[in-house]
């Protein structure tokens, strides 16, 4: 089964239709998505800024992560839950949305960045825990995380706009290629 067929089928399920048609449920889920973004991105950005040596320079890096991470994990899990529901409510359009695709790709990169940081950089934290400005590897991880999440939020906000949607033709060939769109007319 192709991806498109999968999302089409998803969009025909009872719950997807119900969610799509319920203005109040959809609005509440979207609001929750934004609030948990505040929790997740807010505290993640503070940690990234600490890695860059741009704030809380007197607080050990390991302590910032230990005390704030439970909150960022909570925020992240809830964003995935609410985000999945938002896609579930509008599956085909999300799948073919150029900003949604950008966002997913960047999420993957942000995940890789977290993985590299935790497997290669953070294990040596004892050596630079109290440094006002952490070593270059940590600064790069923090800077990349901050930049990636900012573009992810930007892309997320843009999903709502239909400039490049499949049902709005003509589009440039490159747009239709990137959105796996086959114009019907």
């Amino acid at each position: 089964m192709s991806f498109l067929a999968f999302f089409q089928q998803l969009g025909e399920t009872e719950w997807s239709v119900a969610l799509h048609e319920s203005e109040i449920a959809y609005s509440i889920i979207e609001s929750l998505h934004v609030w948990f973004m505040c929790l997740f991105f807010g505290l993640t950005s503070m940690f990234d800024l600490r890695l860059l040596g741009w704030t809380m320079r007197g607080v050990p890096v390991s302590e910032v992560i230990r005390r704030l991470q439970p909150w960022t994990i909570l925020g992240f899990v809830m964003m995935v839950v609410t985000g999945t529901l938002l896609v579930y409510a509008i599956p085909v359009r999300s799948y073919q949305n150029i900003f949604f695709r950008t966002k997913m790709l960047l999420l993957l990169l942000a995940g890789i960045n977290v993985f590299i940081f935790h497997s290669r950089v953070f294990p040596g934290v004892a050596k630079w825990d109290a440094d006002a400005v952490p070593p270059k590897a940590a600064r790069i991880a923090g800077g990349l995380s901050l930049a990636l999440w900012m573009i992810i939020i930007f892309s997320g906000r843009m999903i709502a706009y239909n400039w490049f949607d499949c049902d709005r033709q003509p589009q440039w060939a490159i747009v239709n290629f990137l959105t796996s769109c086959t114009p019907t007319e």
Binding site: S27, F41, G42, L43, M46, V64, R157, Y161
Partner: protein
């Protein structure tokens, strides 16, 4: 006092009209507004979680507040710089929007609260002397910010 004429004037400003006439200006301002919200939330949360005893605990709240201050101020400036043009572009809709008034009331209250009670609680190290009072302060601050964010998101749904 009738505020409608003022909102109509806001709506008719060149900035408001310019945004309405563009298909991408509103979304871009909106996205930066959202980024500002995220950074604001982060710098408020670091301190309020400290006051609640649920975040960083070893540092005095005053030190954390001083550390995040430039980011909070920068983010609030971004929020105003993007929020005002967004408002101008749909001022009349805002006038009739319940969510808009919730947001403005919460924003007004949270700013006053931040520069009076919360500020005093942070700088007089109330967290170690009267932890309950510090917790209540943080809870009020977070509730008011929640009202700002709720109203803000809900303006778009009406």
């Amino acid at each position: 006092m009738d505020l409608l004429p003022f909102f109509q004037w806001c709506y008719s400003t060149p900035v408001g009209e310019g945004i309405r006439n563009s298909s991408w200006l509103f979304p871009v301002f909106e996205a930066f507004h959202l980024l500002g919200l995220g950074i604001t939330a982060g710098s408020v949360l670091v301190v309020d979680l400290r006051l609640l005893g649920l975040g960083l605990r070893k540092q005095p709240a005053a030190q954390l507040a001083a550390d995040v201050q430039p980011w909070l101020m920068g983010a609030v400036v971004v929020m105003f710089a993007t929020g005002i043009p967004l408002f101008l572009s749909e001022a009349i809709k805002c006038f009739y929007s319940f969510a808009f008034w919730v947001k403005m009331t919460s924003l007004f209250l949270v700013l006053i609260f931040a520069f009076t009670v919360r500020r005093r609680v942070i700088w007089q190290d109330i967290a170690s002397k009267q932890p309950t009072l510090a917790r209540i302060t943080a809870a009020i601050s977070l509730c008011l910010w929640f009202g700002v964010a709720w109203g803000g998101r809900w303006i778009g749904f009406s």
